[in-house]
Amino acid sequence: KSPLQTIGEEQTQNPYTELLVLKAHHDIVRYLTGEKLLEFSGHTQKITAIITLPCLETCEEKNQLILTASADRTEWDCDTGRQVQKVSCFQSTVKCLAVLQRLDVWLSGGNDLCVWNRKLDLLCKTSHLFDTGISALIEIPKNCVVAAVGKELIIFRLVAPTEGSLGWDILEVKRLLDHQDNILSLLNVNDVSFVSGSHVGELIVWDTLGWTVQACERNFWDPSPQLDAQREIKLCQKPNDVSIRHLTWDEENVFVAVGRGLYVYNLQMKRVIACQKTAHDSSVLHVVRLPNRQVISCSEDGSVRIWELREKQQLSVEPVPTGFFNMWGFGRVNKQASHPVKKQQENATSCSLELIGDLIGHSSSVEMFLYFEDHGLVTCSADHLIILWKNGERESGLRSLKLFQKLEENGDLYLSV
């Protein structure tokens, strides 16, 4: 078991020097909506106002409509800041939502899959009921959606009404049975592929058109299979450690939250290029890739960590000396360090994830976060709080500008010539 990498109080590269705690929730805040919300409301704080439903919510925004789904009594709210409409004709918990913009419909996944239009009319639904329910839902080309149901990925095709047909219909097209355990995450990577991750740490890259496996990575818990067996067993005893909770991607890489670790999987090379086996004290729940080669992860341990993906200088170097990470470790005595990743063959990891900062504020698991280019980071947590992390220097400058604006409004500003 590799030790947790820590960083001290001196974090020169950490830009977040200001935080604002928003306290409005009375329960776990689990989801935050996407970036589009910013366009319509212009304010990150609006998010909190919207996501105040208890338990499970999924927010989705389209033309100033926000759908929130709640687990308690399968209710639907349609909000634009205030509740617009409420649908409560479900037999089961709605677990996920998806919007097909081209068809101007949206789907809800629970024990069955339903198709709705903007007016909240039920267009059609699948006849079969899944006991486990749909845990994830994504759109793929050709009017298809992929639903993760237990270990299976089911592909449905949506049939839009044409002159001939009567109305909407949804058809099951194919079932993909390659996963060995429950699929926890599903992600569209690009036009040609999507990725799914399962509870036992399998990552499968699929072709969106042919629905075939492009690549598969099953041994995240140990990128070097030839490592001593003891460790492998130990890890396998804790399957929770390897479940893939979240995926994110950029042009070339998929960033995978595997258990407590963080992995970077290169789509072209079809292998892991960098990893941080114990990125957090407990499960990593959400990963986001920032434009500046930074990766931010949050975890059940209540912390948010900022990583930087760095090219390794020498690929052929031996495992990094033990002391390397000690410079980050503050007062960790029994640091049996040695990055385990480094032990594997050199070509496996050509990059490294360096911890450049951590954000500590939440007192419970950080469920999710959003990154806004201009506004910093918004994290939500099981401790009922939402915290805005901002760049203090930048905010200070903005406040200063605001001050002079106000001075000018009051007619008190006198610029020297």
Partner: protein, 937 residues
């Protein structure tokens, strides 16, 4: 002048100190004789030692038509206060100057009894034999059973310090006017009620008489009336006349509110001004309104009774007491107001004046004052004293013209000359108000008075008021300000005297007047003034503030001259000096150039000696009035003296005052019901300086104790500097300890270093026993945390270590501090463990002044636009930040971590300024990723 006995008594003060400073005893031969009054606990500076009473008090007297002048009650109502002082004698004196006797009774020629709505008169008089000087406020209450329906009363503020009375005349006048208004309103209400009852009685009597007459008529039909019947008819007629008279009286008393209303139209802000004390004045006006509507309402509970038609003005009858004359509610309020007045003016004059200057200066700092100043003082106290005291001498005017010279708020305080008795006796008997010539003559002759003292006209109505055989020296009288057309300006700048001046004059004074009443100032009644100009507080100084369209934002303090007359006043009335105060401050201009302009007051005194601008000197008996222009320089911190050379005051202002009261602590506690819940029974703690309202969180005692404990902390802990730095830079300091009292004490002490967020007090949590949360750090900057030896504390400590990057932790039990490094120079000046300051209150003031300087720096930094705005559109942001850095370092002289302090304060200023209207929200938690160190003793 500090003489030898003073020194002795001063050192004697040490016994009140919490930490006595033990100096080696002086050799016998060097020791000076003890101050003769020391045994009585008197302070050598206190002029009270000659007086027969121990401290100032308020006396209410009545000129009873039965027994003559008599004292009714004193505030505080404690015989120890006035001691052997002869209240009866003094009542006689103060009532004897009541000139209003002439207005009492029926004016000749009027058919019905007429009520005179006489305005109060305000007189200053002194009795040097008794060592007493008094501000005397005469007022008239209505009583149906009294002669002429009036009962003359007076309220007097009696002090041994003549200068206090003179200097605080306006304030006293304003405060007493409030009390008087309250009393009179209640009286009118009661009087109206009384009239109604009387009318009912009369009505009833008439009915009865009428019936009786009818019966008699019927009884004898002989065609002629019996003498009995004639008598009855006469009686009936007299009752009917009486009814008409009383109805007329009722009409008159009813008409008063309308008159009042007319008056208050002139001063629309009156009601605003009188919000405090304890909201009573506001309540007064409310009550007044309701009273107006309801005190004519029927009182069904009253059963009319038969009365004799002949009015019974007999001496055998007991007159109503003051309490009976006034509606109970109003009476209670009046007493509360008077108690408040007593509190307000308690203490040494120089202390009062200093605190008034203090408040005046504080008003100029409304942008920064929320950081460290006591908001109770900033916010509430001026409101309560607005009418009376310093008002707002300064305003941020738009600096449209002359942008080069950045005008700094500047206070010009002119010290009025005092001139005693003989030479300037002037008694003017004329009442001709319109006579400009006589007015000017009066002005000329009274020119030895400082205009600030508001004595511009000598008008005295002497009719029948002075009957005592002793000489009366009228030094000056004051005509009510017929010019008070704008009541916005009813506040006044007080005229502070430097303590030396006060002292020296006081010393010289007593030799002059032997046995005399010195009427120093009076103002005639309202009856003399054209109706339109009847302002409610006729003696208030007329101070005009002109927000310069001309750009200067200057405020002209002009005694007795109305604003339109201003120009001619300066030309014509040369006897009046105008005091001009420049008070414009430009924000956003090159604020770095803070300079205190030299005072160039445009005073003109018609005295042949002209203007003498000299520092305080000994009193000269010659009659040239000398003026002292005393400008408070650097009152607002300027760049020039940035933090350097701060004098360590050894003499705290409360000392002068409190030493006097020191030995009478029991009395203090007794009289102030609201006094601080003295949990600690140290003698020194009871020396509460006066002018601060009791029981506020910001009381002097509170400050003193906080200062004392802070001083102790600084001496005791070598790591006090980084701890204070943490507080100043907005890093939450957690004081961890087992013992609640200790933690609370230290938190209270350290809270003086915590910058406030806004109007809601300082972000300090004195005691917390639950685990810390991230929101706590956003909310509070100083937290007292309980350390418990239980599993619960484990989580608390865990949270503490988890959030250690946001906090500095001061462990009281282990005497350790964990916090970032501090290398600046600011805190060592602020908290020097080798400081010679020994008193808590002195240290508190020292800290306040240092922090005021600091906030001035933050103000400069925040509002210098060239530092923050790009010089031109394409400028890189790095350039601006380098400008900021160099400004902080070079211009403001800040090194290392001091920069962070100013940056943090600037952040608070920005937030406060931009959110001022919306109400202040909590600022975001700002922090740095810097390593912490562990400090140990």
């Amino acid at each position: 002048m500090i003489s030898a006995p003073d020194v002795v008594a001063f050192t004697k003060e040490d016994e009140y100190e919490e930490e006595p400073y033990n100096e080696p005893a002086l050799p016998e031969e060097y020791s000076v004789p003890l101050f003769p009054f020391a045994s009585q606990g008197a302070n050598p500076w206190s002029k009270l030692s000659g007086a027969k009473f121990s401290r100032d008090f308020i006396l209410i007297s009545e000129f009873s038509e039965q027994v003559g002048p008599q004292p009714l009650l004193t505030i505080p109502n404690d015989t120890k206060v006035f001691g052997t002082f002869d209240l009866n004698y003094f009542s006689l004196r103060i009532m004897s100057v009541d000139y209003q006797a002439s207005f009492v009774g029926h004016p000749p020629g009027s058919a019905y009894p007429k009520l005179n709505f006489v305005e109060d008169s305000k007189v200053v008089l002194g009795d040097s034999k008794e060592g007493a000087f008094a501000y005397v406020h005469h007022l008239t209450l209505y009583d149906l059973e009294a002669r002429g329906f009036v009962r003359p009363f007076c309220m007097a503020y009696i002090s041994a310090d003549q200068h206090k009375i003179m200097q605080q005349f306006q304030e006293l006048s304003a405060e007493f006017s409030k009390a008087s208004e309250c009393l009179k309103t209640g009286n009118r209400k009661a009087f109206a009620g009384e009239l109604e009852k009387k009318l009912k009685d009369l009505d009833y009597t008439r009915t009865v008489l009428h019936t009786e007459t009818e019966i008699q008529k019927k009884a004898n039909d002989k065609g002629f009336y019996s003498s009995q019947a004639i008598e009855k008819a006469n009686e009936l007629a007299s009752v009917e006349k009486s009814i008409i008279e009383h109805q007329d009286l009722l009409r008159q008393i009813r008409s008063y509110p309308h008159r009042k209303l007319r008056g208050s139209n002139l001063c629309p802000r009156e009601s605003e001004h009188t919000q405090d004390p304890p909201s009573q004045a506001a309540a007064t006006s409310d009550l007044e309104e309701s009273a107006d509507t309801d005190h004519y309402a029927c009182r069904p509970s009253y059963t009319p009774k038969l009365i004799k038609a002949k009015s019974t003005k007999c001496f055998d009858k007991k007159l109503k007491t003051l309490e009976e004359l006034c509606d109970t509610e109003y009476f209670t309020q009046t007493l509360a107001q008077l108690r408040h007045v007593e509190h307000m003016f308690r203490g040494d004059l120089c202390y009062l004046l200093t605190s008034q200057i203090d408040r005046a200066l504080l008003k100029q700092q409304h942008i920064t004052s929320f950081l460290f100043e006591d908001l109770v003082e900033v916010g509430d106290r001026p409101a309560e004293k607005q009418e009376s005291t310093v008002s707002k001498p300064h305003h941020y005017g738009p600096p449209s013209e002359s942008p080069e010279d950045c005008l700094i708020p500047q206070v010009l305080i002119s010290v009025g000359s005092y001139k005693s008795s003989v030479e300037s006796v002037l008694i003017k008997m004329e009442q001709d108000l319109g006579d400009e010539a006589s007015r000017e003559a009066a002005v000329t002759e009274s020119s030895s008075f400082d205009p600030q003292e508001n004595l511009d006209y000598l008008e005295m109505d002497m009719k029948g008021s002075v009957s005592s055989g002793e000489s009366i020296e009228v030094l000056g009288t004051e005509k009510p300000t017929s010019v008070l057309s704008k009541s916005e300006s009813q506040s006044s700048l007080t005229v502070p005297l430097s303590p030396q001046v006060v002292r020296s004059k006081a010393v010289s004074h007593r030799t002059i007047s032997g046995d005399s009443i010195e009427v120093l100032s009076t103002c005639p009644s309202e009856a003399l003034i054209p109706d339109d100009f009847k302002a409610s507080y006729p003696s208030a100084i007329n101070e005009e503030e002109s927000y310069g369209e001309g750009g200067q934002g200057a405020i002209l303090f002009q005694a007795g001259i109305s604003p339109p007359e201003l120009g001619e006043a300066e030309e014509g009335n040369s006897g009046l000096a105008s005091l001009q105060t420049d008070a414009s401050c430009c924000i956003g201009r090159e604020a770095g150039a803070l300079l205190v302009p030299l005072s160039t007051p445009g005073h003109t005194v018609s005295d042949e000696d002209g203007v003498v601008s000299v520092p305080p000197q000994r009193y000269r008996q010659k009659d040239q009035g000398f003026r002292v222009d005393f400008s408070v320089e650097n009152a607002s911190p300027s760049r020039d003296n940035s933090c350097e050379g701060f004098p360590a005051y050894e003499l705290d202002p409360s000392h002068l005052l409190t030493s006097r009261d020191g030995s009478k602590t029991s009395l203090d506690d007794h009289s102030d019901a609201t006094s601080y819940g003295s949990s600690i029974a140290s003698t020194s703690s009871d020396r509460t300086p006066s002018s601060v309202p009791p029981a506020g969180p910001s009381s002097e005692r509170h400050k003193k104790r906080a200062g004392q404990n802070a001083l102790k902390f600084i001496r005791q802990y070598p790591f006090a500097h980084p701890a204070i730095y943490s507080l100043l830079s907005g890093r939450t300091l957690v004081v961890l300890g087992e013992e609640e009292a200790m933690v609370r004490k230290l938190v209270t002490a350290l809270s003086i270093f915590v910058p406030g967020y806004g109007r809601h007090g300082k972000p300090v949590k004195h005691w917390l026993s639950s685990p810390l949360h991230i929101t706590d750090f956003q909310k509070w900057k100083l937290i007292g945390l309980q350390r418990v030896a239980s599993p619960a504390s484990a989580s608390a400590l865990h949270a503490l270590s988890r959030y250690s990057r946001y906090t500095s932790i001061l462990d009281l039990d282990r005497k350790t501090l964990r916090c970032p490094l501090y290398r600046g120079t600011l805190v060592p000046r602020l908290a020097d463990h080798r400081t010679h300051i020994r008193r808590g209150s002195t240290y508190f003031l020292h800290v306040q002044s240092m922090l005021a300087q600091l906030s001035a720096k933050a103000f400069l930094y925040t509002f210098c636009h060239h530092l923050h705005l790009p010089a031109h559109g394409s400028e890189a942001p790095e350039l601006a930040s380098s400008r900021q850095a160099s400004f902080l370092q070079l211009t403001l002289g800040l090194v290392h971590e001091d920069v962070k302090v100013v940056r943090y304060l600037a952040e608070l200023l920005r937030l406060h300024y931009t959110q001022e209207l919306r109400g202040t929200s909590q600022p975001a938690l700002r922090f740095d990723y810097v390593p912490s160190f562990l400090y140990k003793i």
